[in-house]
Symmetry: C2
Subunit: 137 residues, 2 copies
């Protein structure tokens, strides 16, 4: 059986700067990067922890997925990402058990990793990202 | 600076058995324990991953915190727990920066670890648990 690991937690925030007052200044988690992901219309700050990362996600446009999430739910956890060894195998197992992906195509993240989102209706309410990273990442 | 690590993600579910169809059967994450936590009126299934745990939380009573969360928000991530080396120090830093805890007293979890919850109003919408575990845990 492959190893599944918590890769990151994506948190929707109105302002990364404000959120860093908590995660960096109070908890000591320093962002290694702040990147605007154009196709998601979001700025992402990546904060590594001793195991797994926290990603703070701030919309760069009012019509982005994260902006809509903030309007509907307010600030909070947007998605949970689990790292798998073999993304194709994981997707096949999910499909064979009748679970639904948000989009069928594997996407490529800003850091080059491959990912899909599993629909919350198939996971008990969690927007679950499955990630396969190059071993050097 | 101390090390902060993602300890676990607490997910509110209506039925642990149903959620295991996803997390165990489709993703291969086996629960190491299923425990009723009487004072929280919740059953918790703990699923270790390669890094960090997933806790599936099912209410055992209609007036539990998790039951109220399910009624208000539906199934999904209830809290994120970060492990710190020194809980007292972490609490002092939070208080000195004007952040609010849900309860001021340190509590003891079912497995013996010590924890507090930081109020979502102080963390950008996330109910954040801070955990200090014995090194053997």
């Amino acid at each position: 059986m492959e190893t599944v690991t918590i890769d990151h937690i994506g948190i929707a925030v109105r302002s990364i700067d404000e959120a860093l007052g908590m995660y960096r200044d109070a908890l000591g988690l320093d962002p290694v990067s702040r990147t605007v992901v154009e196709h998601e219309r979001v700025e992402a700050a990546v904060l590594p922890t001793g195991g797994g990362r926290i990603e703070l996600l701030q919309p760069t446009s009012d019509d982005s997925v994260i902006a809509r999430f903030l309007r509907r739910r307010g600030q909070g956890v947007h998605h949970v990402a689990l790292r798998v060894d073999n993304l194709e195998e994981a997707i096949e197992t999910l499909r064979n058990s009748g679970r639904r992906l948000v989009t069928d195509r594997i996407q490529i993240g800003a850091e080059g990793y491959r990912y899909v989102f599993v629909h919350p209706g198939s996971t008990g309410g969690v927007l679950l990202e499955l990630v396969e990273r190059d071993r050097r990442q």
